[in-house]
């Protein structure tokens, strides 16, 4: 039996999720033994139109060319996983989706906007094609990626873990930054998966993994207001990595 094949595609993004893959270290070497990696530009493998069993897609759709390309990626892939904030919710660049007049956004920034070929909106991958599984996070953690791929290779569907960061944080034995320091931690409304990285360093979660299931955002807003945070800074904090609330929803 030939090895399963894998491709890593990049759309509008910072490449951080691809780096999370490269940072897998030994696990990446292990992965390379069990799958044939056809396309992974950050690792020097280029074959964009290869047909593969698993496609990992990083980045958001922001150009007309992207719109065409993501459809090609979809038709070339058996199982498509969007990974990272950009691919799952449009990413930081989806800030422009909130502009009063998105068509004019580029004109406000660039002196010669005619050279910029860009859509009015930054969109998650699922806005254009069917996505089989999503990995949230900015960037995703190496462990998430290897777990999802390993589960698929073993013939099972990956588990969509939408639990709150607080649960993961307490399992890791971390001390609550909100309770001990009044920090504006977004852990109670944020999806787990990072291993409580920020709280482990005494820093409040800023929500880069997106919304958890059954999130009480208005409850947390009121609580943070009670801690003395102005409503606009709470709003900014909640929209820092996933600015477009319409793309925060579940698939």
């Amino acid at each position: 039996m030939s090895k399963p094949t894998l491709a890593v595609h990049k759309f509008s993004s910072c490449d951080g999720c691809q780096l999370a893959l490269l940072n897998m270290g030994e696990a990446l070497a292990d992965l390379a033994q069990h799958v044939e990696i056809k396309h992974f530009v950050e690792a020097g493998l280029v074959n964009e139109d290869a047909k593969v069993d698993i496609a990992l897609v990083e980045g958001s759709v922001v150009t007309a060319k992207d719109q065409q390309r993501i459809r090609r990626v979809r038709s070339n892939s058996r199982y498509l996983i969007s990974m990272g904030a950009c691919a799952t919710s449009g990413g930081i660049q989806a800030l422009k989706n909130l502009a009063d007049n998105p068509a004019d956004w580029i004109g406000q920034i660039y002196p010669q906007p005619e050279f910029i070929d860009s859509l009015d909106r930054s969109s998650a991958i699922k806005q254009y094609v069917e996505v089989d599984f999503e990995l949230w996070g900015c960037p995703v953690s190496s462990l998430q990626v290897s777990e999802a791929v390993a589960t698929l290779l073993n013939g099972a569907e990956p588990l969509d873990n939408q639990e709150k960061l607080c649960i993961e944080c307490k399992r890791a034995g971390k001390i609550c930054t909100l309770v001990t320091g009044g920090e504006p931690c977004l852990g109670p409304v944020t999806r787990a998966g990072c291993g409580a990285l920020c709280p482990a360093f005494g820093r409040a979660c800023y929500g880069c993994y997106g919304g958890a299931e059954l999130s009480n955002q208005s409850g947390l807003r009121k609580r943070l207001e009670g801690l003395g945070l102005p409503p606009e800074s709470i709003q900014k904090r909640m929209h820092l990595i996933h600015p477009d609330p319409q793309q925060q929803n579940e698939r």
């Binding site: 696990a27 292990d30 992965l31 033994q33 069990h34 799958v35 290897s146 777990e147 791929v149 390993a150 589960t151 290779l153 073993n154 099972a156 588990l159 939408q162 639990e163 709150k164 607080c166 649960i167 307490k170 399992r171 890791a172 034995g173 971390k174 001390i175 609550c176 909100l178 309770v179 001990t180 320091g181 009044g182 931690c185 852990g187 109670p188 409304v189 005494g202 299931e213 059954l214 999130s215 009480n216 208005s218 409850g219 947390l220 009121k222 609580r223 009670g226």
Partner: protein
């Protein structure tokens, strides 16, 4: 078990107790100040104990401050006590290896347990331990890993000399003095510690220490300390009879709680009696190795209510009801008493500052604080 008179250990001899436990092969765990909280963590020196530290707690708020007190144990509690030691947040149950012929070889993970001695355990947490024992050891299916850890555990309790605003163990009958479930119990006074054994192992350790007789004045100080802590507990959980909460699901208070509750699960994670867990399979990329893992779960999480393909608790209100009604009401049917031992952690570590006691009193008894 109080068959022997208590004896006294001078403050400057406390290191002898730690040395003695280490000599006996125990890994010693005790309270330390870490990341702004009192955390039970490995230690070998008395200097690592929280000298002069005290805690201020309120719903949603925990602060430590250092005083010029000479005491090591003049505080109420931190976010965890014994639960993570006996029922670790993450535990590998078994490992599996796929063989060349496709069959699976199952491997029992190495769970060799090193004996642990915990110093500074509070009365409420001993009561909670008794409840965890009931669940993990006395049910139909005793948990072997829990059993092994439990058997090798040596407990040095300390009687509380202060109470946080969130403490209410006096009203649940679980403190503030430890009466059972320990190998040794200490009462800290200004000059040192009144010690009393609670088990044969405890007597053996005490026999190795340079102890002196306890004076009448020391016993009076001990009594006074206990009365002070009783009086300091302003918060009281009223008696809740079976069905007192279960029959009040229509009470308007639940909706009010659900607006504030973040369903983050922190209360259940820090609760010393909560034991819910889920199990997952972690397969490796190589297609050969896999492990089956048990992790703490929470009734506030989605996986807890995901049964037979659908979510049975799809609102914050229904999850809060599950937590409170199970803890205070259904536990009585299940384990013969309420699942609350009055430690107050569910309130302190609630990021939404929900006052569990006030809400329970209001719903069950209609009593406003």
């Amino acid at each position: 078990m109080e068959d022997k008179l208590p004896e006294f250990l001078f403050r400057n001899e406390l290191q002898r107790l730690l040395d003695c436990l280490i000599t006996k092969g125990f890994k010693v765990i005790g309270p330390k100040v870490e990341d702004g909280a009192l955390v039970y963590s490995p230690l070998e020196q008395v200097a690592e104990l929280p000298l002069g530290w005290s805690d201020q707690q309120a719903p949603g708020r925990y602060r430590l401050n250092q005083t010029d007190s000479v005491r090591y144990f003049h505080w109420a509690n931190g976010p965890q006590a014994l639960k993570p030691l006996l029922n670790p947040p993450r535990n590998i149950l078994w490992q599996a290896k796929r063989q060349a012929d496709g069959s699976l070889e199952f491997i029992v993970p190495d769970d060799s347990i090193s004996p642990v001695a915990v110093i500074g355990v509070k009365s409420c947490d001993l009561s909670a331990l008794a409840l965890q024992d009931q669940h993990f050891l006395e049910g139909e299916y005793p948990d072997p890993a829990y059993q092994a850890r439990r058997k090798s555990l040596f407990l040095v309790a300390v009687n509380c000399s202060t109470a946080a605003s969130t403490c209410f163990c006096a009203s649940t009958g679980d403190g503030p003095e430890a009466s059972t479930g320990f190998d040794m119990v200490m009462t800290e006074l200004e000059d040192g510690f009144i010690l009393q054994a609670g088990s044969e192992k405890g007597r053996e350790v005490m026999a190795m220490l340079p102890l002196t007789a306890v004076s009448e004045s020391m016993l009076q100080q001990k009594q006074k300390q206990k009365e002070t802590v009783f009086a300091a507990q302003s918060r009281q959980l009223r008696t809740i009879e079976k069905t007192d909460l279960a029959e009040k699901r229509a009470h308007p208070c639940w909706d009010d709680i659900a607006e504030r509750c973040l369903a983050c699960g922190n209360c259940t994670m820090v609760c010393p009696t909560c034991f819910c867990h889920h199990q997952t399979e972690e397969a490796q990329v190589n297609g050969v190795d896999s492990q089956h893992v048990r992790e703490w779960d929470s009734c506030f999480g989605g996986s807890h209510g995901q049964l037979a393909g659908f979510q049975v608790r799809d609102s914050v209100k229904s999850r809060y009801q599950q937590w409170m009604i199970h803890k205070l009401d259904f536990w009585q049917e299940q384990y013969g008493r309420s699942g609350c031992t009055g430690c107050g952690r569910c309130m302190t570590w609630c990021p939404a500052e929900i006052d569990f006691v006030a809400e329970a009193n209001l719903i069950a008894r209609g009593e406003q604080e």
